[in-house]
Point group: C2
Chain length 333, copies 2
């Protein structure tokens, strides 16, 4: 094991030490601009189904391979990330598992391998916050949240980097999780954190974010007021068909991914949602080629998640750790 | 850096020490059987174009992400592999660069990361040898080879594991490369190794293997005799359209990949080659659900390369290195 050249190995604790949510929001915002400019190159991710939907193998999980090139940092790489509900959950491990592999795009040399779940959690919050910044040109916001787990936390932390959260209504089927969330998130929320007794109560907000594993389409169209932006972020469809079909504008992070995963998958397969129904990408909003002016519109925003964000953040972490002279290096060749 | 649990890091030298071509042929054969049985799960690979075909970024390279699950070893993982002709070649580095990441498919824990180019080179030879075994039920063979580089070597070594090579005709635009190949490959070839003066001379064989970076469609239909099996293995179309369109049987390793990369890509884009024109997969030949009886048929076999082979070999290497108590372990979490 050499400590020069080679591939730098970066563990989760090292990432946590050198990366704030403010950093992540800034890096992701710049990378979204790259999508709009055409300098962020992000092919559609490929899924290895390990029983999330397939019958075989039956491990209640998946792994996604997400390669990307990020022009503004002139770096490339790939996140290999998965989620598991079976044996992994039994062992008490977090839902997500991931690695980010970075490549010098000029030579294909592997510059670093980083733990990937922590960056995934942070950037999944950041992408909502950034989309919201371009949709709602406000400084404060009333937030509704479904799911008080890890993702619920990072959504709240990221949104608080851009908005004053005037009120936060959170619903979780576990009251204990909701209570823990409330304690943890007090530093990030200016106003009150209200634990909703029913899902409907959490929908009374300027922005409604759903980060749940639900397959129940539990968010009703009738709950959503004009001017509310809904972010259904789960792997499955969390809102009823009417909420999607009645939306005035649908905004996504990546057209092809959004049609084949998550909230739009079923309606696309049925031919009811096509590319022409998508109003804009977050990248187009970030560079201003598309804008959202309609304050009373019913807006649906679906960021499925792109490897480019992970690669960009990974590169910034790598640069910082190299500057500090930290990390372990391993030569594969 | 802990030496227990964690992710085992395995460099190229360690792989070379514990893996023979015989091993690779056996592992790949079993994995092809898995394709036929349905126990090898291999989604279509995703390509990040870094200037191989795209104008931006202009680095004359690509990276492929190739996830797979291998049922007979109950393992999963992904190869991230690329080839570069620009800065990488200037630095005198080999064309290929790659890593193989292995995952426990029950939990998503990362069990190992291995250097990937060496295994890629070996298994690319092995897949030809195995396909040839199922197509030609002979013990000896006359081989024609285009390209005397690294891939030419591993093709020859792998084929020699299954067949006595009675004669080998090699053509390379560099006579020096051809001469070096001849010296290196003498131990693997029972008969004579003939350096062909023209490409046509190398086509007089039972099996013709092309491993070149050519975009010239230089292999002519008229050179190929009935009963000859042609393997166009390059990234671009090495044989003229007629040779493909006149083939009696086209055999591939992976239907979707074969239609979108390599020899068939252009004719598929033009609508001239469709899935219905593909006779069988190597996996179907391996389990016997399809057979090749036609001794005078003109057969084209196109193994584009599947991540499942790399994952399977990587797992066997990991098991051996763990059994020896070797390797370095790093904990990302």
């Amino acid at each position: 094991m050499k400590h020069t050249d080679g591939t730098l190995l970066i563990d989760q604790a090292s990432i946590e030490k050198c990366l704030t949510m403010k950093d992540v929001v800034e890096i992701c915002d710049r990378t979204f601009q790259g999508f709009g400019e055409g300098t962020t190159i992000n092919p559609t991710k490929v899924t290895l189904d390990l029983g999330e939907e397939s019958a075989y193998p039956p491990y209640e999980g998946f792994m996604n391979a997400m390669p990307a090139y990020v022009g503004h940092l002139d770096t490339a790489g790939m996140k290999f990330v998965g989620g598991f509900l079976g044996e992994r959950r039994k062992q008490g491990l977090p839902y997500l598992t991931g690695l980010i592999v970075l490549v010098n795009p000029h030579t294909g040399n592997f510059t670093a391998i980083l733990e990937g779940a922590h960056i995934t959690n942070m950037r999944t919050g950041a992408q909502t916050a950034i989309a919201l910044k371009y949709i709602k040109k406000a400084s404060s916001i009333r937030l509704g949240l479904y799911g008080a787990g890890m993702q619920g936390h990072t959504q709240t932390m990221a949104i608080s980097e851009i908005f004053d959260i005037e009120e936060l209504r959170v619903f979780d089927s576990s009251k204990e999780s909701a209570q823990r969330f409330k304690e943890n998130m007090k530093p990030y929320v200016k106003g009150e954190i209200i634990i909703a007794d029913t899902p409907e109560q959490a929908a009374d907000a300027d922005a409604v974010v759903a980060v749940t594993p639900s397959k129940d389409k539990f968010i009703r169209d009738s709950w959503i007021k004009p001017g509310t932006v809904v972010f259904p972020m789960g792997s499955y469809q969390e809102c009823e068909d009417a909420l999607i079909l009645n939306a005035d504008k649908i905004i996504v992070d990546h057209v092809s991914q959004a049609l084949h995963r998550g909230a739009l998958k079923k309606l696309h397969a049925e031919g009811l949602i096509e590319e022409k129904h998508l109003y804009a990408t977050i990248g187009e909003l970030a560079v201003g080629t598309k804008t959202v002016e309609d304050e009373n519109g019913r807006i649906l925003c679906i960021p499925i998640g792109t490897g480019a964000l992970d690669v960009a953040i990974g590169q910034v972490v790598l640069d910082r750790i190299k500057a500090q002279g930290g990390g372990f290096s391993f030569s594969f060749v």
